[in-house]
Structures are given as C-alpha cells and as structure tokens.
Amino acid sequence: MSGFLSAYSIQNWLESCPQGYLEDTQYGHAPGQTEPALVLDNPTLLADTIRTTVQLVVGERCALAASSGLINAAPDHASKAFLATQTLDEARHVEIFTQRLYDLGVKKSELESTLAEHANPNLVKFAEVLLEKVDKGDFIAGVVGQNIVLEGMAFSVFEMLQAAVSGVNPKFANTLSGTIADERRHVGFGENRIGSLIKQHPERKADVEKMQKEMAYHMLATFSTQFAQSGSAMQEGQRMAQAAEGNGAEAPAKWHGADLATATPEEMEGVLSDTVLKEFKVRLGRIGIEYQTPAAP
C-alpha cells in the first residue's frame, strides 16, 4: 500500500469517524436534540426545509450509488477499502437526512413520493452524468465526478447551511458538522488518488473535463432553481432569526462575505456558485485537470 493510501485505511476510518466524532451521536446529533419550533410551527419554513432536505437525500443517494459502484472498478485493494468506508459514510448520510425528513413530519409511507415531488430535476441530471461514468466502470472519471465535483459541491453547501442554522438549529448544525468532516476526507482521497492516475493516463483529461463542465452546468441550474423557490422562506427565516436574536439567540453568521441575516436569494446563489467553482478550479488544478467553465443555465 503506498504511503498516502494507508491514511485512508478502514483502521484509520474506524478510529477517526465512528469511534471519533460520531461517538455518542444518534442520527448524527446529540441524543435528545430536536428540530426547533420556529421551523416546525411555521408552514413556509417547514415546506422549504423539507424541500432542501430532499435535495440532500437525493445527492447522498447518488453518492452512495457512485461510491459503491466504483469499488469494483478500483485498481487496488487500498482504494477499494477507502471506497468501502466512503460507501458507509454515504449510506449514513442517506439515513440521517432521511431521518430528518421524518423529524420534520414526513410519513415513512410518503418518503418516496415526497422525494419524487421535490427532487430538483437539475440535480437528478447532475447525478445521471456521474452514474453513467460509474456504470461504465470508468474509475478516473467516476472518482473526479464523485470525490471532486459532487463532494466539493456538497462540502460548500453543507458549510453554508451550517453557517445559516448554527444559531437557531443546533440539531441540524451538529448533523452537518459530521457530514462536513466526512466530505473533507472524501475530497482528500479524490485529490490524492486521481492525481497520480491522471499523470499515468493524460489521454483521459479531455473526457473528464467534458464531464466536469456538464456536471457544473447542472449544479448551477440546481442552485438557480433552489434559490428562486426559497425567496419567501429565506425572508421569513431572516425575520424570525432577528426576532430570536432580540431574545438572546446567537446572531446569524457571515459566510464567504455574505451577511446571512440580510442576504437576498440572488446574492446567496452568487456567493455559493462562486465559492464552489473557485474550489473546483483549485482542486482540479491539483490533479492536473483544467477547469472548464459551464454555460450559464
């Protein structure tokens, strides 16, 4: 096993994840924590929170299918072992975000219909581009699509959500902190493992860059439609957060320069898109892939 891959062993994963930051958690948060009344009692916020959580489940289901599907295509035991831990991480994310839907009042019998109703079609297309590569057993494109593009997007989205809810929803903020720690590890593996494979197979660059461009397009389209739908809920959330702040609650944070207490949906869409795309450029550059700017959706 090469040196860096030994850092991605199951032994290390066991010590850092289930026996580390997940110890004493239940569905990713401290036992007993609940969704706040300001979400559960406000129909506008509740509907928007369910819609947002649906996108998280859809994204994590894609990540579960991709990481498990890539195990057979992995060229060595160490990569298979890492992808096995990632598979379980993604399954856990599916489980905890699904549990959140139940906590928000979605009935178990209505889970699939709720997902089908609210899944963003652009996010579904994003997933299809990736899973097509996985189905072909294309390890290089699959890992770039999964561990750089999908995980890079998820990482920034989770960070933004965590900043937005940290003062008002400790349960969800805790859930997100565990997933962010997982995503950081996944992105690290993608950069480390694929860099050497791209060097060995430079002929694969063009195909991988085409996939990245296509995925980035569907990602931006997803952000656009999500923020367009969330306008009234964001305003409602900001109004309630300000009221809670007056009662001693923590003030909403800033995220990448955006004041979450006052930012409009358009501003937040711009900040999130810029943040994710900048990350893509840096991470793709590290593995020898040239970032391709997608068309504006």
Partner: protein, 255 residues
C-alpha cells in the same frame, strides 16, 4: 440498546439494517482488535510448511472477501429498498475490513507484494465462484446475487473459519473470531430478505435451486483445498462439507 426483537416487524427491520445498529454491533470487538486481533497476543512459532500453508489459506480468504466486497458494493445500486441499501453499505465496510485485516496478517507473516502473492495462490474454483457471483451482480439479478453472496459464500466462509479457528495459531484464531461475528449478521440478512421473497413468490425457489446446483461443486472443491491447508484430517472433511450444506439448509434453502 433494548432488545430489537421486541419491536414491531417493520420497525425491527429498519433498526437492524441501520448504520446505528451496525455501529453498536461492531464497536466493541473492533475497539478491542486494532488491525483485526488483540495486540497482546504473541506470535506462535510456525515452522516453514505451516507458515506457507497459512499464507496460502489467508490468500484464498482474501480472494473470498474481495469477491464479497465487490458483490455487496455492486448490489447496492439495485437493492430493492433503502434499508437493504443501507445494510449492504455496512456489509461493504465489513468485507473491506476483513480484507484489510487479512492483508495485515499476511504482512505480519512476512509477505510483501500482497496483491501479486494473493493472486498467485488463488484457488481456481474460488475464482470461478467469484466470476459467477459478479455475473449475477452485473446482471442486477437480486435474488441470485443475494443467494450466492449472503447465503452460499457467507455459509462457506462461516463453516471454514469455524473449522480453522479450532486449529489456528492464536493470532489468526482471534482475527477469525471477529470475522465470524460479521458473517452471522450477513447470513441473517440473506435469510430474512430471501425468506420473505420465497414466501411471497415461491416460483423463485426453482431458480435458486439451479444456482445452488451450479455453485455447490465450486464451493465443495474450495472447501476441500482449504481444509487440507488448515490441517483438517481427510476423514473429517466430508463431515465439514455436510456442515456447510446443513448451514445452508438451516437458512431455509435445502432446495
């Protein structure tokens, strides 16, 4: 954790197939066995032929665990429901963990170039079994893949590992004891999932019979080879072969 058997059926299935349940089940013995075995156990004094036989045996266990890893991961995509997907994800990590600790044990025995050595010592029947199992997976054949993987392969490993533990050096025995605990959970999932399907759609029994008939010779041949390496007397081997068939039968697949 309270006894999950007290829960209503659907809640029970959600519970036992969850990440949370997996974590509670494995946390104890994983913590006690960094790299798969109790670090305080001292290496036994193996002679050259014993060491070589153990290396060959562990190489074939690694082939079996790789097959299980590749199959269980490939099955997630077409598993029929969320709880099956999540259970299989826990099985994926179990299988990868088994592979990792087997490779670690091989390195403790002085093996370098692990991937090449494992391939060079692979039993042909086991490789043929692996190939057929992955064909079921590639064909998204849920019943056949689950039967071959969680009933036949897991039962074979369960029987062989149990026989080996009785004769193994202390470190290998401790490692296999941990692995056996996981195999029980995997067999339970296969039994439960296929049992329900057989009850709902009895016609799949004929298909599974055909799968078993095709795979049994490969399993029994692998069995024979491995038991010889492990040091099981020739006279005892048919009994252990019957034990494997009986464990499949106990799962409801006498077929």
């Amino acid at each position: 954790m309270s006894d999950p058997h007290d829960l209503p059926k659907e809640v029970f299935l959600d519970e036992v197939h969850s990440f949370e349940f997996w974590f509670q089940a494995v946390a104890g013995y994983l913590t006690e066995r960094p790299n798969g075995h109790d670090p305080s156990i001292e290496e036994a004094d193996l002679n050259s032929s014993e060491r070589e036989a153990l290396i060959t045996t562990l190489c074939n266990y690694a082939i079996g665990e790789t097959a299980a890893l590749e199959a269980s991961s490939g099955m997630i995509r077409f598993a029929p429901n969320r709880r099956a997907k999540i259970f299989l994800a826990t099985q994926v990590v179990d299988e990868a963990r088994h592979l990792e600790v087997l490779l670690y044990r091989l390195s403790e025995l002085g093996v370098t170039h692990l991937e090449e050595v494992v391939q060079s010592r692979a039993n042909r029947s086991l490789l043929a079994f692996r190939k057929r199992l992955l064909q079921f997976v590639d064909g998204h054949d849920w019943e056949a893949a689950l039967f071959a993987q969680n009933v036949i392969l897991e039962s074979m490993e369960f029987s062989v590992f149990q026989a080996h533990v009785e004769r193994a050096d202390p470190i290998t025995g401790d490692m296999l004891t941990g692995i056996i605990k996981d195999e029980r959970r995997h067999m339970g999932f296969g039994e439960n999932e296929l049992g329900r399907r057989l009850a709902e759609t009895p016609h799949i029994r004929a298909r599974l019979q055909a799968v078993k008939k095709e795979l049994d010779p490969l399993v029994l041949d692998t069995f024979e080879d491995t038991l010889e390496q492990v040091g099981v007397e020739r006279s005892e081997r048919p009994e252990l072969g019957r034990s494997y068939l009986a464990s499949v039968e106990r799962l409801g697949f006498a077929l």
